[in-house]
C-alpha cells in the first residue's frame, strides 16, 4: 500500500481529515525548504504538496508565480527538488510528499528518468497541473511501475463522465479545484463544493482533497466537513513572501496558521 493510501486510510479510521499544505520548493531559498517541510509536519500536516518551480505557471495566481520566480532566482531544478525530498526523508519516513508542478521540466528530464529518480528520492505522488489524464498514457504507467501515485485535478466545470474517467486514472487522491480561477483567487462557495464533492464521492472510492480559496481556520474547518483533505497553498506561500529574510519568523507564522487549521478541523464531530 502506498504511503499516501496508508496515511489517508489511518485518518479515515480516526474520523479525521487530512491537512495538506503546499509550498514551492526552493522558495525563498533552496536550503530552507527541508526545514520548512519539517515545520509543516510539526504543525499538523498529514501530507505535503511540494511545488516544482516553473517559469510559466499558467494556472497560478501572482502569489505562486512570485514563489516560482524566487526559487528560479536560485536555479532550483527538478533534481534539486529530489535532493530536498531525499534530505527530508532522513528524518521523516511517514509523511507523504506529492510533487506538484508543470509538465515541461519532466519532459526535459525524460519520464523514465523522472519516475526512477522520484521513487529513489522518496516521493510518493505526482500532480502535473497541465497534464489531464488524456495526455498521460505514457507517464501514468511509468509512475505506477515505480509505486508513485498519479494525482489528477477535478474542476467545477468537469462533467460527470469526465469525473469518472479522471477517478479511474487517479490513485492516492483526487484534487478538487474549488473555484474557477487561478490559485489564491476567489473564496470558495461552500454549497457548490458540497454538491460537487458529493457527486465525486457518489460513484468513486478515491479520497477527495479540496484546494483553492482556503485561507484560515474557519475555511479549513468548513472544507474538512465536506471532503477528505484540505489543501492550503497561497496563504502559506504569502507568509514566506512577506518574511523572505527571516527563517524563524516564517517558521513561527506557518506553524501558527497551520496549527490553527489543524485544531479547527479536529474539533469537528
Amino acid at each position: 500500500m502506498s504511503r499516501i493510501k496508508q496515511v489517508l486510510n489511518a485518518l479515515q479510521q480516526d474520523n479525521k481529515k487530512a491537512l495538506i499544505p503546499y509550498i514551492t520548493g526552493g522558495d525563498p531559498r533552496p536550503d530552507w525548504t527541508v526545514e520548512l517541510m519539517h515545520t509543516l509536519v510539526d504543525a499538523g500536516a498529514d501530507l505535503i504538496e511540494l511545488g516544482v518551480p516553473f517559469s510559466d505557471p499558467m494556472a497560478d495566481g501572482p502569489v505562486i508565480q512570485l514563489a516560482c520566480e524566487r526559487a528560479l532566482l536560485h536555479h532550483t531544478s527538478l533534481r534539486d527538488i529530489f535532493g530536498m525530498v531525499k534530505t527530508f526523508r532522513e528524518k521523516d519516513q511517514s509523511t507523504p510528499v506529492v510533487l506538484m508542478g508543470y509538465l515541461n521540466p519532466l519532459e526535459k528530464m525524460g519520464y523514465q528518468v523522472f519516475a526512477e529518480a522520484a521513487r529513489e528520492a522518496g516521493v510518493d505522488g505526482v500532480l502535473m497541473v497541465d497534464l489531464p489524464p488524456e495526455e498521460a498514457d505514457t507517464l501514468v504507467p511509468l509512475l505506477k511501475e515505480h509505486a508513485l501515485d498519479a494525482v489528477f485535478l477535478i474542476a467545477p466545470t468537469t462533467t460527470e463522465e469526465r469525473i469518472r474517467h479522471i477517478c479511474e486514472h487517479s490513485s492516492g487522491y483526487v484534487y478538487y479545484v474549488s473555484v474557477k480561477g487561478v490559485t489564491g483567487s476567489a473564496s470558495l462557495d461552500e454549497q457548490e463544493v458540497a454538491t460537487k464533492v458529493a457527486a465525486i464521492k457518489a460513484r468513486n472510492d478515491i479520497p477527495v482533497g479540496v484546494g483553492f480559496g482556503i485561507r484560515d481556520a474557519a475555511s479549513a474547518a468548513q472544507v474538512s466537513r465536506l471532503a477528505d483533505g484540505v489543501i492550503v497553498g497561497s496563504v502559506l506561500v504569502n507568509i514566506i513572501a512577506e518574511n523572505q529574510e527571516d527563517l524563524p519568523k516564517i517558521k513561527s507564522e506557518l506553524s501558527a496558521l497551520l496549527s490553527s487549521m489543524r485544531n479547527a478541523m479536529d474539533q469537528l464531530d
Binding site: 510559466d56 528560479l72 533534481r79 521540466p105 519532459e107 497541465d130 485535478l153 467545477p156 487561478v182
Partner: protein
C-alpha cells in the same frame, strides 16, 4: 512517405495530435470548454450557413481575395526566381490575423459567449480581435506584454479606440508568452462567459486546427492565383514563423504538392549562436507549453527561456505543433534570419516596390531574396506578405535615431 489529402485530413487526430505534437495540455478547468469548442467547430465547419457567413465576411469586410502581386522590380534586382507577394497586408486591419479572428468571433457568436479575450505580441492580433469584437458588440480584453506595449504603442491606441481594454502584463519576460499566460489565467477565471481568441496555430487542441483552417484561405487563393497567372504551381513558398499562423495558412493547401518547397523563416534575433533569438524550430527541443507539445526554447531544467527579436510578433519561445510535425517529416524547411537582415529587407522592399512590410514579414522577405537568387529565372516563388509595416515605424525611426 507520400502525403495524400486523405492522410492529411486525419491530422490532427481525435486527441489533437500531429504525430507526437499538439494535444491538450491544460488545467482541468479548461477541458470542458475546449471540448465544447471542438464539438461546436466540428459541427459548424462544413455547415453551409456557417461557411457562407465566413466567406461573405472575408469578402465584404476583410476585402478578400488579397492580390497575388508580381514583384517585378525586386525580381529583376535579385536576378533569380520570379517573386510574387501574397498581399495579406492589404486586408482590413493590415495583416492576415483578421482571417482567423473573423472565424473565431463567429464561433463565439454561435457559442453565445458575450466576452472575448486575446493575447497579442505585435498588436496585430489584438487589433484584429478588437475589430471583430466592436463589429459584433462583444466585450474585449487584450493581454499584451509591457515591453510590447512600449514598442507597439500605435496598435495599443488602435485597440483602445476600438473599445477594447488593453492589459499590460508585467510578469515574466513581459512579452507574448507572458501575455498568453495571463490570457489563460483570465480564461480559467471567466470560463463561463468568455471566448478565448487565440491568435496563432499554437495552444491546446482544437485551436491549432481551427486557426489553420481559417487561415488556409491564404494558400487556397495563392494556389488558384498562381495557376491563373503562371499556369502552374510555384516552386517555393516562403513565410515567417512566430507561432506560425500565416505560414500554415499559406503552406497547408500545398502540403500534398510535394514538388512545392516550403520555407518557414524564424526570428534569428542577434544570431542563433548568441542564444538571443526566437527560433525554436531551428535551435529548440520538443516540450510542453501553453497547452501543446511542440518545439520550445527551454533550458536544461525545462524552464522556458527568454526570447529576443526586433519583431514583437515573432518574439515567442514556442511554435505551432503542425510546424513541428512538418519539420520532423522533412516536408517544410525551417530557417532563420537575424534582426539586421530583416531590417535590411524592410528597407529594400520599401524602396524597390513601394511596399512597407511588417517587421515579421520582413523576415520572410530577407530569406526569400537570398533563396530566390539561387533559383532559375523560370522558377516561381510566393512570399507571404503577412502584414503591413506602419505599426513598426517607431521601431525603425528609433534605430535611425529619429523621433516621430
Amino acid at each position: 512517405m507520400k502525403l495524400t489529402e486523405e492522410f492529411l485530413k486525419q491530422l490532427p487526430d481525435s486527441k489533437g495530435h500531429f504525430g507526437p505534437y499538439g494535444g491538450k495540455f491544460v488545467s482541468e478547468t479548461l477541458m470542458s470548454s475546449l471540448v465544447d469548442l471542438e464539438n461546436k467547430y466540428l459541427s459548424l465547419k462544413d455547415d453551409p450557413e456557417f461557411v457562407r457567413e465566413f466567406d461573405q465576411d472575408l469578402a465584404d469586410y476583410v476585402g478578400r481575395p488579397s492580390p497575388l502581386y508580381f514583384a517585378e522590380r525586386l525580381t529583376r534586382e535579385v536576378g533569380g526566381a520570379r517573386i510574387y507577394l501574397k498581399r495579406e497586408d492589404l486586408n482590413h486591419t493590415g495583416a492576415h490575423k483578421v482571417n482567423n479572428t473573423i472565424g473565431q468571433a463567429l464561433l463565439a457568436k454561435y457559442l453565445g459567449k458575450p466576452r472575448v479575450i486575446a493575447e497579442t505580441g505585435a498588436g496585430q492580433h489584438g487589433v484584429a480581435s478588437a475589430t471583430v469584437a466592436a463589429r459584433l458588440g462583444l466585450d474585449c480584453k487584450v493581454f499584451m506584454g509591457s515591453e510590447d506595449v512600449q514598442r507597439q504603442s500605435l496598435n495599443v491606441y488602435r485597440m483602445k479606440l476600438l473599445g477594447a481594454e488593453v492589459e499590460s502584463v508585467n510578469s515574466g519576460t513581459r512579452t507574448l508568452k507572458d501575455a498568453m499566460n495571463e490570457a489563460l489565467r483570465d480564461w480559467v477565471t471567466n470560463v463561463d462567459d468568455t471566448f478565448y481568441i487565440i491568435g496563432t496555430v499554437a495552444g491546446p487542441h482544437p485551436y491549432p486546427m481551427l486557426v489553420r483552417d481559417f487561415q488556409s484561405v491564404i494558400g487556397r487563393e495563392a494556389k488558384a492565383q498562381c495557376l491563373e497567372k503562371e499556369g502552374r504551381l510555384p516552386d517555393a513558398l516562403v513565410a515567417c514563423v512566430g507561432g506560425g499562423s500565416n505560414a500554415i495558412g499559406l503552406f497547408y493547401p500545398f502540403i500534398c504538392d510535394e514538388e512545392v518547397e516550403m520555407y518557414g523563416v524564424e526570428a534569428g534575433g542577434h544570431g542563433i549562436e548568441t542564444g538571443e533569438h526566437a527560433a525554436p524550430l531551428s535551435a529548440g527541443r520538443p516540450g510542453v507549453l501553453h497547452g501543446n507539445r511542440t518545439y520550445l526554447m527551454s533550458d536544461d531544467d525545462g524552464q522556458i527561456l527568454g526570447t529576443h527579436s526586433v519583431s514583437a510578433g515573432l518574439d515567442y519561445p514556442g511554435v505551432g505543433p503542425e510546424h513541428a510535425w512538418l519539420k520532423d517529416i522533412n516536408r517544410a524547411n525551417y530557417v532563420s534570419v537575424t534582426d539586421t537582415e530583416a531590417l535590411d529587407a524592410f528597407r529594400r522592399l520599401t524602396l524597390v516596390e513601394g511596399i512597407m512590410p511588417a517587421l515579421e514579414s520582413s523576415h520572410a522577405i530577407a530569406y526569400a531574396v537570398k533563396k530566390a537568387a539561387t533559383m532559375r529565372t523560370d522558377q516561381i516563388m510566393i512570399i507571404n506578405l503577412s502584414g503591413r509595416g506602419d505599426k513598426d515605424i517607431h521601431t525603425i525611426a528609433n534605430i535611425d535615431g529619429i523621433k516621430v
